[in-house]
């Protein structure tokens, strides 16, 4: 029996090591193959505005941030005549509706008539339903989404107009970046997750035609969006789902990442909201995995990549459960040295991830004109394992909720912390 347990430990350790190694490879993809990053950069010169855009801004209980977001989109460096802004709210969210309406009136007084409020009063009250509802009113050639707290770059529409006019592409995903890396103990890692996802990993997905899209700053040809019947309203990660659905059609998705043009966001303000957000993402991936759109992808590599990404929350849940069990078994069973060494392999990979995060922090702060202190690095070293445990807990929680049939949308609160960091200003990071 003991030898079976040892064999199991060795096998699980090897599988986890391979998996962690692969994730590491994806995180470092563009640094490992720098030639893949260059074509993904934004064009240095823009073509004349040609395409019209509809920017949908789904908002729920976003009184604190909605007005600034509307203003920023409306005042972006793109002709008002080619830009339609649709703020979509459910009828019960009177606070956000009031804030949005006030801002729209204010803009109209200044001569901006391209922002509208779209209100729905049917079920379900969630983001994909709001998006689908707003899609009915969309008039632009291209439909895009900005979340209520987003700080989009004023030139992002010029970037996408140029890409879509010069390349034969119907879907563009531009960069999204959390900025408040020093707000709390977990924000550094959360910020870096976005950094590695959009700057590196997504390029790998796009290259092989298996791209789970992000929740905002993605741009669709309206025709394509209508032809696929918009977003899946029963999915908690409708963004990833639609990306894989479009990928399965063989549609090329262009990823544009340029540190200069990222849409800036904030990390969830409390650990609770962070866990709820992560739980929702995990559940969404699990739902998409079960839905099976990925099976329709034409190549084996596409299917593998999609399945691998969508199944990741299960892996994370298993890691969460396996780690304490492995430790207990190693101590209680006095595992042979060879077995114990194999069990250490995933730990080695975990340290490699920490090294990646620390170097990534340097890259991130440099790219955005920020600075960090050694205190931040020490904090990262100390909080690395707790952060992994939080992620594992969120994955286990997602599995539990999924098994219990709890699929309701757990809302993430936004305070606008990313807006406290003026562009280009150096922020000293403290522990």
């Amino acid at each position: 029996m003991e030898s079976l347990i040892y064999a199991g430990l060795v096998v699980i350790s090897l599988v986890l090591s391979v998996q962690a190694g692969h994730v590491l490879y994806l995180m470092l993809y563009t640094w490992d193959q720098p030639e893949t990053e260059q074509p993904a950069r934004a064009p240095d010169e823009f073509v004349e505005p040609y395409l019209s855009f509809t920017a949908i801004v789904p908002a729920r209980h976003e009184e604190a941030v909605i007005a600034a977001t509307i203003e920023r989109i409306v005042r972006s460096n793109y002709p008002s005549s080619l830009l339609q802004v649709l703020v979509v709210c459910s009828a019960d969210d009177t606070g956000t509706i009031q804030e949005a309406a006030d801002k729209i009136d204010e803009l109209r007084a200044e001569g901006y008539y391209n922002a509208e409020l779209v209100i729905f009063d049917d079920q379900p009250i969630n983001k994909p339903h709001g998006l689908n509802h707003a899609l009915r009113y969309a008039e632009g050639d291209v439909v895009t989404i900005f979340d209520a707290e987003d700080e989009m770059h004023p030139d992002i529409l010029n970037v996408v107009n140029t890409v879509m006019c010069t390349e034969d592409v119907n879907v563009v995903q531009a960069g999204v970046q959390l900025m408040n890396y020093n707000s709390n103990w977990y924000s550094t890692f959360n910020v870096l997750e976005y950094f590695f996802w959009f700057k590196s990993r997504l390029h790998h997905h796009a290259r092989y035609g298996s791209t789970p899209l992000g929740g905002n700053t993605c741009f669709f040809s309206r025709e394509l969006l209508l032809s696929v019947n918009g977003w899946d309203e029963n999915n908690l990660t409708e963004d990833a789902e639609i990306g894989l659905r479009i990928s399965a059609l063989g549609e090329r998705i262009r990823v544009v990442y340029d540190d200069r043009y990222v849409t800036k966001e904030e990390t969830p303000p409390t650990l609770g909201s962070f866990i709820r957000q992560r739980t929702r993402w995990n559940q969404g991936f699990m739902q998409t995995l079960r839905k099976g759109v990925w099976r329709q992808m034409p190549t084996r590599h596409q299917r593998f990549l999609a399945c691998y990404t969508l199944a990741f929350p299960y892996v994370q849940a298993i890691v969460g459960l396996y780690t304490p069990a492995a430790l207990i078994m190693m101590v209680a069973l006095h595992a042979p040295v060879g077995v114990a060494l194999f069990s250490l392999l995933p730990v080695l990979l975990l340290i490699a991830h920490l090294v990646t995060a620390i170097v990534g922090l340097r890259e991130f702060t440099e790219a955005h004109g920020l600075t960090y202190s050694s205190g931040t690095v020490i904090k990262m070293i100390l909080t690395w394992l707790p952060y992994q445990m939080v992620l594992a807990y969120a994955a286990v929680r997602a599995v539990r909720r999924q098994l219990a049939g709890q699929g309701n949308w757990e809302k993430t609160t936004h305070l606008g912390a990313h807006r406290a960091i003026p562009e280009g200003k150096a922020v000293s990071g403290g522990a």
């Binding site: 490992d32 040295v337 060494l341 250490l344 080695l348 090294v355 170097v359």
Partner: protein, 530 residues
Amino acid sequence: MAPDVSMSERVALWLRRPGNGLLLLSLVSGAVTHGVNMFRYPLYITDEGIYVQQAWSVVREGTLSPYTYFYDHAPAGWLLMAAWANVLPGQFQAFGNEINTMRVLMLIAHVISSGLLFGIVRRFGGGALGGFAACFLFNVSPLAVYYQRQVLLDNLMVMWLLLAVWLVARSRERVVTAMAAGLAFGLAIVTKENAIFFVPALAYMVHRYARGRGNRRFVTSFWWFALSAPIAMYLAFAQLKKELIPSGFNFDLDSPPANHVSLLYTIWWQINRSGPEGRNLFLRLMENSWLARDPYILVLGAIAVVGVLMLWSQDRQRRTGYLVAALMALGYGFYMVRGSILLDFYVVPLIPVLAMNVGLLYGSLMKRVPRSARTAVTVGVVSAALLIPGGYFITRNTERQLEAHDLYHLAVTPLQEEQIRWVRENIPTNSRLIIDDDIWTALHDREPYFPRAHSHFKAASDPDVRDKLFRRSWRNIDYVVVSNKMRAAMERNNAGGQEQWILDAIDLHGRVVWELHRGDIHLQVYKIGD
């Protein structure tokens, strides 16, 4: 390449690429010079026996040593040997006997190392001719062939080291290549710790090559990380066995901790270990052993290091590899002259590094020779080295007749096999034997087994063997299987009197029951008592 191209056409295409013909020639000549007569020359030595017995222990007993493993060397080298034996149909007997089987692994390691050396010199800017010149020395120098045939951790370390350098030289762009290079170098260190003296050169190389690149932070960080990983696993191994730190945190070299062995204590002991003759030992080995086998590679190599440094100083931007090659030689040279314990085969890692410098210098000189004359000059140099008596291939024997170098025709290991055969046929298997390590595996892995045959080192110093089996008394020894080399080693190892009881057993209570004398090789078997 089109799928309908046949294998022979592919080979022909590959050979037509500039320099690949010379690469192939280097690989083949390396295989020939090391492979011909390698089972018969040189003599099996104690260290070969020790590493083979430890690999045997990994395969047969699942432990790192048949005796108490006291962290004298990190185990990656003999783990690789164990893996090699494990995949062969006849395991340790696949090529006749245990040491021969491992000598084949050394041959493979050498051919791989040759290819890597060629690639490094070419990448560093020495061109294909420079690569060929480096490989020629590495393949044909009697000093190189003599030690590189032997089953030594250093030979495997050299392979990992050259792989690490080649990976960085080959691709400066990729992070995974830097990781692989770091890992290879880490494996070099846990194969033979003296690889650590190459750290400054390789670290400089990695940092210099990454400079100015967008991924430099990841490249350098992961090179260091991957380099540390095998070392960390080695430390973790010791810790899991509760043998990392000495009991009572006792680092007193005069009174070693008695409870258990300790990795950190052994490292501390190694650092503080100095040879009785200090730098004189280096000079003695240089004069008696290394220069006697091949003065050219050492002298030319030393000159080449200076020359390569001068060439580097003329064009620092484009000749980083020149500095790396020189730093590698200087780093390891420092290790050798600093006055620590030295064994003659410690010169092994210096050989490819000197060859690398000679290759770079030769390649640079050839660029000043008209293209049409380069081949003729190179053929001339190689022919002279091979054909002039006293050179690399032709020598004069004691009768002043010309013949091939001893390396290629002398048969000395059959004498050792004869000794083993006599032991098998004439000594009862339950006898208590004191032997040299070079025949240990032969007596433990082949029937009839001699489970109570132990090396004189263990009989002199391992408490389990010395105090429990032999109880430090000649009365508990049945036979001593000895050679003149073993006798000399026993006398060298007798500074504290630990081998005296065995020497007394031979001299006062032993009688010769078998002996064989050929030249300066003297093999004997003593029956002890009655």
